[in-house]
Symmetry: C2
Subunit: 337 residues, 2 copies
Amino acid sequence: MGIRTEGSSGVTGHDVALHAGVSIATVSRALSGNRQMSDELKARVLDSAEALGYQVNLVGRALRKKLTSTFGLVIPDLENPFFSSLAQNVSRSFAQSEVDVLIASADNDVVRELRAVQSFLGRQVDGIVLIPHDEKESRTALENASRLVPTIQFDRFVPGSDVPFVGCDNRFGMKLVAEHIAKHGQVFPEKVFFVGGGQSSSSGRERSSAFMEFMPEANFRDGSFGFSWGQEAARQILSEGHQKGIIACAADVIALGVSSMLISMGRSVPEDFRVIGFDDVGVSFLAHPTLTTVRQPVAEMTSAIGQIISASQASEEFRPLGLFRPALVVRESSPKP
Amino acid sequence: MGIRTEGSSGVTGHDVALHAGVSIATVSRALSGNRQMSDELKARVLDSAEALGYQVNLVGRALRKKLTSTFGLVIPDLENPFFSSLAQNVSRSFAQSEVDVLIASADNDVVRELRAVQSFLGRQVDGIVLIPHDEKESRTALENASRLVPTIQFDRFVPGSDVPFVGCDNRFGMKLVAEHIAKHGQVFPEKVFFVGGGQSSSSGRERSSAFMEFMPEANFRDGSFGFSWGQEAARQILSEGHQKGIIACAADVIALGVSSMLISMGRSVPEDFRVIGFDDVGVSFLAHPTLTTVRQPVAEMTSAIGQIISASQASEEFRPLGLFRPALVVRESSPKP
DNA sequence: TTGTAGGCGTTATCAT
DNA sequence: ATGATAACGCCTACAA
């Protein structure tokens, strides 16, 4: 495994041309197929290519065409199941097309996020889909990207940027939660809690402010998008002496942490505390109790991304529309009253 | 957002050379910095580059150097939390180095897996880390990759291949599980169950056969690596009339499904059924009850990958070692007897 | 120390 | 319809 250093298959279009007894230009034409040529020659070239195991060198092609049929997806945190699911869905929605999706993880770090963007740009990707990790700090990465290639902000956005955004209507989602909670009024008179996901991302900020708009009397506490923050928040709530209530969370990962801690500390969900999440991650239906949550329309969102990317490939204009309506999914952790 | 089609920043080394009043060779030297040159000139070039917003075109560099400082990671299923966690860890372990990690999802499809490999190869990646989706069907992808670039099989392997493998000692892990179960002998005389993850991947096959080796009397049933198979398996076990037992699973995702279904159907874990997983995915500690499982030494494994990649970058010989010992993590779903 | 020039593999333009 | 050839942006002998 030592000596081989050649990049691609090692056999170039030149080799195929020699083998088939044609010019290198003919080889290129036969393979890209977008030019008229005799079927006989075409077949001969294709056979030679097959025989030699030729494989087009995408680097050479990219250098010449200045296009790569590739776009990059930057994910803030692959260990967050909602994001890894998004990545899988985006990737899947391009399975049929010629476009390749390259994924990079920013690992909750704006420095690595920027680096991922630069790497994609240097690689001449045709477009970038960025889930901005931080509302402020991700601005540089987003601007760098959008200055050079068609760029989409996905799921979160940098305020004031004019880069097209695809995501869900967080305010509407929280309105659904608030309405759901309101129906519990007489059953759970105690207390409504909101456990936020921080103010440093647009989704965190939007969900917090929307919920507080609809339920200003709620007991509010803020943290970050993670299981452990949910656990900590539940511990806080119990240590403050609360015995019953409804706990709405900015994300499923938080809600799962909350629910987990409540049960560990001997409380019952939903009898003592009702818990509501946001996102509808894949595992939320198998949590115990199963999680009432707001489902983001992931399929619609990824398909919108596909359309925007395709449009930009065809150098059409961007379609800036991209705010999708989520839906409430009622499960055991906060059943219908 | 329409007219711009240039790939990278549009400004090339040539432009920088003009701006700085030097030759294009000097620009290249100033930026790669691996050549002696006067500080004054170097500073001037760097200033010009900065002023023009120059950014090296990695495509041009790759074509010339036949190296990209990049390797590709092919993941069978990003929605499986164990795999997405692996991806994050691999990516993280290269954060400090110059190497970029590109991730592609095969989405449980060998066709897309092969396509991802070809795409990486065409992009001249310096190496490929492949988690083979299928023990047989992934052979083509693996061979294509290893023929051209240094390649590592990660977590799963294609039998009979001489491509270096990094993964965990599944047999040893199952031995730990069997020993743990054996201690429960008198407490749970009823029945030992094993819920497999299929025979089409090396991990599925190894874990099944190892467990059956240590506990040949176990009640065996086989499926796939997924929550829903775990739920189905639990339903089966209950419908067969079993009231108590110990259920060992080939993966945490299966165990979480099993546990979920048992509880949904009114059984108690661990009182009625004890449940044991494998992998120690991030969420297993917050399941209810928390999951007893076998922890894969992810940090060691990803660091081994880092070493192998680095060695291959330095064109040293591969270090074929790569079987790591997992450890039993006892939690609530199957506590110490 | 710095500049000149050739070529990496591909596609597109121009002849033929 | 096919072939020769010139770029694309970069790096690196080699020359100065």
